[in-house]
């Protein structure tokens, strides 16, 4: 046990953090421990409190109450030591458009007190890591959105932080670029053993990347586990049947089977949560036949984190489209920066 109560491998310890903005409670007594070397995901819709939590952990915002310890340093009392041990990639762009990629990194290295030689070698190293070596002397205003993001990730790594915060690292990027960035993030964890905390509202991102996920909604952590366990908590696969008519006994019969967790019928569509979907499909047909019922189609899928979120909150995480205001502002800003 450390003096702060966590285990020796705990690198971030959050205790009952609350943050209010006037009437609005952005974080409501959140407690959370993050282990060294984890790739940890904070998953939740916009406005859930993810960015607020990152801002508190990176000393940009102070909590209304509660405490947090990052790499052994209190975020309220020892800001400077916390800042030395972390790297942050913000949700909104934070590069200087009028400097080149290399100059942005050099600026960063100087701010973190790296000498000329380490700046040179590390710029080479991180530029290679994110495949931007051939664009290093170009001004940021000529970079695409994906390239900016990659450079920001590279910059966050330059001073070899113990903890790297990535706030919505793939927001607004196309699927191909997102996949690339996922690979870089995985690479970081493998090459440097950096503890990575990323926030996202993309289900697949949390699922693909993170070893552990906290689902956060309205400032509260509503679930905390590995993606596999979270999905398993639903109790199996999802079967969807379409049928012209639902026999009154059909749902009841299915519900009585041991393997079935949940059944619901709506407008000729029956949805089942079943322990082993594949082997249950024949039983569905048998049951239907015995009642003289026709089945038009069956589809089966593995549950995803979206299903977990719906089960926990009764709502969907909205998939943002490009026309949402936040996104528009981002594009507008990139388009006409100074």
């Amino acid at each position: 046990m450390t003096p702060y109560g966590g285990t020796a491998s705990t690198i971030i310890e959050i205790k009952e953090i609350t943050r209010q903005f006037g009437e609005l409670t952005a974080l409501n007594s959140v407690s959370l421990d993050i282990e060294r070397g984890e790739l940890f995901g904070l998953l939740g819709p916009n406005g859930a409190g993810k960015t607020t939590l990152i801002s508190i952990l990176s000393t940009l915002l102070s909590p209304t109450s509660g405490s947090a310890v990052v790499c052994g340093h209190d975020v309220r009392k020892d800001e400077d030591m916390v800042r030395r041990s972390i790297g942050v990639v913000f949700q909104d762009p934070s590069l200087d458009d009028e400097l080149s990629g290399q100059e942005n990194l050099d600026f960063h290295g100087r701010l973190y007190g790296l000498d000329r030689e380490s700046r040179r070698t590390r710029i080479d190293e991180v530029m290679r890591l994110v495949d931007l070596e051939d664009r290093r002397h170009d001004l940021i205003k000529t970079y695409s959105g994906g390239m900016r993001r990659r450079l920001e990730i590279a910059r966050g790594l330059m001073h070899r932080p113990q903890v790297l915060f990535l706030d919505e690292p793939t927001l607004g990027l196309d699927p191909q670029t997102r996949r690339k960035i996922w690979n870089y993030i995985r690479g970081l964890k493998e090459s440097y053993g950096t503890t990575i905390i990323l926030t996202t509202h993309y289900m697949d991102e949390a699922d693909q990347l993170c070893s552990r996920v906290a689902i956060i909604d309205h400032g509260l952590i509503v679930a905390l586990d590995s993606p596999a366990n979270l999905k398993a908590s639903l109790g199996g696969d999802l079967l969807e049947l379409e049928t012209p008519t639902v026999h009154p006994d059909f749902v009841e019969k299915l519900r009585n089977s041991q393997e079935v967790r949940r059944v619901s019928a709506h407008n000729g569509r029956v949805t089942l949560t079943v322990a082993k979907g594949e082997s249950f499909i024949p039983r569905v047909f048998e049951t239907a036949q015995s009642l003289g019922m026709e089945i038009a189609s069956v589809s089966m899928r593995k549950p995803n984190l979206e299903d977990v979120f719906i089960k926990l909150t009764g709502r969907e995480i909205r998939q943002e489209s490009i026309t949402e205001p936040k996104e528009r502002i981002r594009i507008y800003m990139w388009g006409r920066r100074r």
Binding site: L60, F90, P93, L95
Partner: protein, 251 residues
């Protein structure tokens, strides 16, 4: 990290950006040159003031003051754009004190603002509009520094207080232009209506322009020691307010 490398880093950023953007440099020099040449020649024929001073000679130091005022205020208010475009977060999350950030930003902007003013001054010397000797030149440098540093700090203070760049136009119309017009840069301060005279006497740039007129052998009004004292006081006050506002600001 000790304070000085951080200050140097912030200074370097301003200087690199200044050197890179030629069109902005030319753009920012165009207005002072226009004022000097067009106003200077246009009003020249109607101007009667102390024997042999021509109008263009009279406004020369005023236009240097204008260049300093505009570039320092715009430079300081650049913090607003850094805030808007997120770069400020990158700086604020680094293990560097806000005092060092503010100092580096100020020195950097003072540098670029004084380079502009010196280019203009060199052109005026070449054209024979001002008479200058070494002592006068050094004195001019001191006044230039005080004007520039004061208004950079004021710009930073305003930018720290404002939340988005929409207020920029208000600052332009209600701070920058009045300070310029009421500074005696464009007309002599004697024989003004009483209310106007009071406003000009409350304006710190008045003393900056007057100090430079003295240093450059022009028709000055106050004792250079008075000019210097007022500007020193203004500079210290602005530095204090700027640092206070910048420290209080949230990203």
């Amino acid at each position: 990290m000790s304070i000085s490398p951080a200050i140097y880093t912030l200074w370097l950023r301003e200087v690199i950006r200044f050197g890179r953007n030629r069109s902005r440099l030319i753009g920012s020099m165009a207005l002072p040159v226009l004022f000097l040449v067009v106003l200077g020649s246009g009003f020249g024929g109607f101007f009667r003031y102390r024997n042999d001073v021509t109008y263009i000679e009279f406004i020369g130091p005023g236009i240097v003051g204008m260049t300093l005022l505009f570039s320092a205020m715009f430079g300081g208010m650049n913090v607003l754009w850094d805030k808007q475009f997120g770069f400020l977060k990158e700086i604020l999350v680094a293990p560097v004190s806000r005092t060092a950030i503010m100092t580096g930003k100020t020195i950097g902007t003072v540098t670029t603002s004084m380079v502009r003013a010196l280019v203009l001054l060199a052109a005026m010397i070449t054209a024979g509009l001002v008479k200058v000797h070494l002592g006068g030149f050094l004195m001019t440098l001191i006044f230039m520094f005080l004007i520039s540093a004061s208004f950079v700090s004021l710009g930073i203070a305003l930018a720290s207080w404002m939340t988005d760049p929409h207020g920029f136009q208000l600052i332009m119309n209600f701070v920058i232009m009045p300070v310029f017009f009421l500074s005696g840069a464009l007309f002599p301060l004697e024989r003004l209506p009483r209310w106007l005279e009071i406003l000009t006497l409350l304006n710190p740039l008045t003393y900056g322009v007057d100090g430079m007129r003295f240093a450059l052998g022009g028709p000055y009004r106050f004792s250079p020691l008075v000019d210097l004292a007022v500007l020193l006081f203004f500079w210290l006050a602005m530095t204090f307010i700027g640092a206070f506002m910048f420290r209080k600001m949230s990203a």
